[in-house]
Symmetry: C2
Subunit: 247 residues, 2 copies
Amino acid sequence: MKNYKITVAYDGTKYNGWQKQGNTQNTIQEKFESILGKMTGQKIEVHGSGRTDKGVHAKGQVVSFKLKSDFEDEEILEYINRYLPEDISALDICEMDERFHARLSAKRKTYVYRIWNSPIHNAFEHRFLYTVEDELDIERMQKTAENFLGEHDFLGFSSVKKTKKSTVRTIYRAKVERCGNEIKFIVTANGFLYNMVRIMAGTVLEAGLSKRESDSVFEVFETKDRNLAGATLPGKGLSLLSVEYRD
Amino acid sequence: MKNYKITVAYDGTKYNGWQKQGNTQNTIQEKFESILGKMTGQKIEVHGSGRTDKGVHAKGQVVSFKLKSDFEDEEILEYINRYLPEDISALDICEMDERFHARLSAKRKTYVYRIWNSPIHNAFEHRFLYTVEDELDIERMQKTAENFLGEHDFLGFSSVKKTKKSTVRTIYRAKVERCGNEIKFIVTANGFLYNMVRIMAGTVLEAGLSKRESDSVFEVFETKDRNLAGATLPGKGLSLLSVEYRD
């Protein structure tokens, strides 16, 4: 039994997210399990580093699975790419220690939320962008992003209902960059709660629109009140950039 | 009556090309005429610098139209962009001399044909790329492209049937560039015949696959025989980059 790690990129526009759950059809996980099943004749379970929601993209999703086969690593990668649709690709493959697990071994993940700030569409990348036409105060957005840094209870910045699991996460990086008409909110953490990046991005955006103060972030940390945080921005602007593992 | 020039970008994937002709629905020209008609209450005729076929893209298509209105230039641009779908955008607007015509005044056009040379898809840009997995001889492709330079009869490099109009065109630039897994064939000419860039690109590609000599280009010029030229590559890899005008 070999344990593999592959890096995966996808345009999530057409998919119902990474994870198959219940009757959800057309997930990216499903595509991988179906291709690996066809290749090996076995039922292969594939683990992603985390769920990405409907319409969310990935440049560096990490996927792991165990396989009993005589295929060379490169043959597996070739086989997968031959059968993947055009909007999903397997970028590399690596044989790992048997304990490696894409989700459980992950230490840090980085997401980017991309905002297009112009009344003139970006005809080529609109699938990956959320458009906001109003003028944005970038400094205020940057200040708001910085307020996320460190260890906090992010319950108020999530769609999680009451839970016994910890909702404390550590943010290692949170910044806002403008490049031409595009504004990126980039955030690295040891983990993210359900809808957490999209709500953080919504909060940063509302600060940019001068609808809230940058310090309102602390109020949400204190009260854990979802209603005090920003709106959940649409999935289309969000991409999972990379996942880091120990060593 | 004012005469306007606008620069237009589009992802042509979903459209039946630029030009409405006969019963063809869902063309880009149609979108502009319908928006300008709604804006002014008049029937406005819009001219493109050239037809782009079904599935072909543009970064710098040029469009002209005459309009009787009290709108400021910027108001017209804003109005158009408000009603255009996400995969089409109007980049700028300029008031021109009454004699200006997007097609008749054009002096040079530049197209790029983009080939993706890897078995690993480009999940984010596959709409704009034609994929070729086999190894390509770039030098041979470059040599083939250079053979197009100058003034020649391109009848053999087109889907044009017998015609009384001249099929002589002048190529000012024709080059092949590799950047990572992407290979671009860029060509500038004083005009292009029907399917000409796609057939030139097909000929360059076949040279890269060592299916033909770079000098086979001259044979097509001499015989004007379409069958001796390369295949017509799919529209999806083609983009109209820019149009130049005298001034």
